[in-house]
């Protein structure tokens, strides 16, 4: 191993990415195949956590922490709330899936097709690690170049909030 942490062109980052990617993909497959609704939600936590690890390896620090905070913290909790509020059975359910053939065709086709396309495009090329995506860097980018989308997103959040309230209000005559 040379000082840059490479073994025959494979860097430590590559090894970490493969490991975290395997965890993420395995958990993702369990999310879509699990017979327990609650366990699917918990596997989703593993998948999202693995992705946060991938972001860290790809030097996207801020995104990784936002992922942990928003996805693992908020979105999954919301989903588990929905599982409880809709009185999902705690044990295994047999009626969660449709026949699998269409999903296998489309999902497998999309996944493998995209994978073939990207592998063909990037081969075994190497890139240097970019400067880390710290809060300072992302904040400067966000508020120099992307201020308008940022404001639009805040309006959209407000709209989503109002929409969710209107939808979940009991209809009055």
């Amino acid at each position: 191993m040379d000082p840059h942490g490479r073994v025959g062109g494979v860097t430590v980052a590559d090894v970490l990415l493969v490991a975290l990617g395997a965890v993420t993909l395995g958990a993702g497959v369990l999310v879509v195949t699990s017979r327990h609704v609650v366990r699917a939600g918990l596997w989703l936590v593993v998948a999202l956590g693995g992705l946060a690890g991938c972001y860290l390896v790809l030097t996207a620090e801020l995104v990784a922490w936002v992922q942990v905070l928003l996805y693992v913290g908020a979105v999954v909790v919301l989903l588990l709330f929905a599982v409880m509020l809709t009185r999902a059975p705690i044990g295994p359910s047999t009626d969660l899936d449709r026949p699998r053939i269409a999903g296998l065709l489309v999902g497998g086709g999309a996944g493998l097709g995209l994978a073939a396309l990207l592998v063909d495009a990037y081969r075994w090329s190497r890139v240097e690690q970019p400067p880390p995506g710290t809060a300072a860097r992302i904040g400067a980018e966000l508020f120099r170049q992307w201020v308008l989308p940022f404001e639009v997103v805040s309006v959209l959040l407000l709209a989503a909030l109002v929409g969710a309230i209107v939808l979940s209000r009991r209809g009055e005559r």
């Binding site: 879509v32 699917a40 899936d97 999903g103």
Partner: protein, 146 residues
């Protein structure tokens, strides 16, 4: 670092999510599969941030936007699911009728559905349209029954 590795992970994760969207019948599990697809896109954006040369690297900013959009989407999606659950006591997406499906009875069912949808709001009202359709024998609780 070889960018092909995260790209490959993202592509396969997108396929897994797409499989889940098509196969799952439980609406909450459907939302989880959509989250997987969104996260695959996020991973693509973060990886593109490392491979892009020259122009300002903005992939991570886009990822933040997508995360916020996903949070909003989950909020509205859960409101729709809970509304649907209150109407039908089920979260089975197969129980959702097509809103523009008039059903064999035609005008009578349409009129009833229009009446139900008129004072109901949002997608739940649209879902209520198919209630009058006679090929769904279960006596669903619609707008009037609340």
């Amino acid at each position: 670092m070889h960018p092909v590795i995260p790209y490959l992970i993202a592509a396969l994760l997108f396929g897994v999510g797409g499989y889940g969207v098509l196969v799952r019948r439980n609406a909450v599990l459907l939302l989880m599969s959509i989250e997987l697809m969104l996260n695959a896109v996020n991973l693509t954006l973060v990886t593109a941030d490392t491979t892009i040369v020259g122009v300002p690297r903005s992939g991570q900013v886009f990822t933040l936007f997508v995360i916020v959009l996903a949070a909003a989407e989950v909020g509205v999606g859960l409101a729709v699911i809970l509304r649907f659950f209150r109407l039908r006591a089920s979260v089975d997406t197969d129980a959702v009728g097509a809103a523009d499906d008039p059903g064999p009875l035609g005008s009578a069912a349409d009129a009833a559905a229009a009446g139900a949808a008129g004072d109901d709001d949002g997608p739940a009202g649209a879902a209520g349209d198919a209630v009058g359709s006679p090929n769904r024998p279960t006596p669903y609780e619609n707008g009037e029954a609340r």
